[in-house]
Subunit: 205 residues, 2 copies
């Protein structure tokens, strides 16, 4: 005998990625046992986020201010732009903390079937940013999937036209750190073999 | 460069069962892309639920009213009480839609280690409900775990004392419908063998 309020909450929670109807039910029961320590704070945090989070008009990142903290940070290198598919990818690179330049978030990949055009991904804005002279390198950090690589090709073509002097680069393919060779697919393994590097102190290949 | 508002929302969402920090990040990104169609409605639904949902003082079910819709439903059989561990178990039985009596939700199992006493599980209230004369049967639908079965024994002892004429029963053990024998544990299989039933129209065992 589930009431409408509870049903409604379950159906909304079930829309989150990684939660189905069954885990949404579990989550709702968990919340209802802790109305004051979890459910109300969560509702408030969502309201606040919906109110304050905006998309950075320069790079497409999500932040409470526009331009975002990364674009506004004067200590970051303005000569390198890293193109990523999604804000999640930007967060992942920031957790890695090796990249100190700025970003361009596409918000997806090109797709004729789904009607995603270069304009939807902000490619004209990216070309304009790159062409203004300050940028020396653009890193295309897109997924190694068919869609990601197609999009990378289109971006590379456009940028070669808009700013011929800018270096274009992509992420290295190879064995994941901590990964076992046995579990790797053939494509990754042969890419890692082709891109093999001399080991410091020993003779190269 | 995750802002504090987003971090706070992620850390709250990560407390839900089934969501860790990684899936909470994915969920938050999903929400932030749909502030008006998902994030605000979800916040509102949680606020409403925190406001309106209460625990039924008779059976321990969660509902917008007290007594809950099940206890208030005059068409349900008042002579049978089904004892369950949790509201989730009550919901599961209601989805099955074969039980037409009323419930008693314990809210957990007895545990000397965690300091859960019979009073915490509402056993005095259950004894009083059962002893008032209208109840003919109590079904102990507790988990087939050590904790569940220990709790079932304690409840059976108390009810035998409080209301000696009331029938006590437990759920049948056996092969799950749709389950494959090969994957069943030995205990379930031998319980199903011991409780084997004659097939209609054929000779019994």
């Amino acid at each position: 005998m589930v009431t409408n309020d509870i049903d409604h909450l379950i159906s909304l929670l079930a829309k989150l990625p990684g939660l189905g109807p069954r885990s949404a039910r579990r989550a709702v029961l968990h919340l209802m046992k802790r109305p004051d320590s979890l459910m109300r704070p969560l509702a408030r945090a969502m309201d606040t986020a919906a109110e304050t989070i905006k998309t950075c008009s320069t790079c497409g990142n999500l932040d409470t201010r526009d331009p975002c903290a990364i674009c506004a940070d004067a200590r970051r290198d303005t000569s390198v732009i890293c193109v990523v598919e999604d804000v999640a990818d930007l967060w992942a690179l920031e957790r890695g903390a090796t990249f100190k330049g700025r970003y361009h978030v596409l918000g997806g990949t090109l797709s004729a079937l789904d009607g995603v055009t270069p304009e939807d991904l902000g490619l004209p804005q990216l070309s304009a940013r790159v062409a203004d002279g300050e940028v020396a390198e653009v890193i295309l950090a897109l997924s190694a999937t068919v869609d990601g690589q197609t999009t990378a090709h289109v971006i590379a073509d456009r940028l070669a036209e808009a700013a011929p002097n800018v270096t274009l680069s992509g992420l290295a393919h190879g064995v994941p750190v901590g990964g076992e060779l046995d579990y790797l697919d053939d494509g990754t393994l042969s890419a890692a073999m082709k891109a093999r590097r001399p080991i410091a102190g020993a003779g190269g290949p």
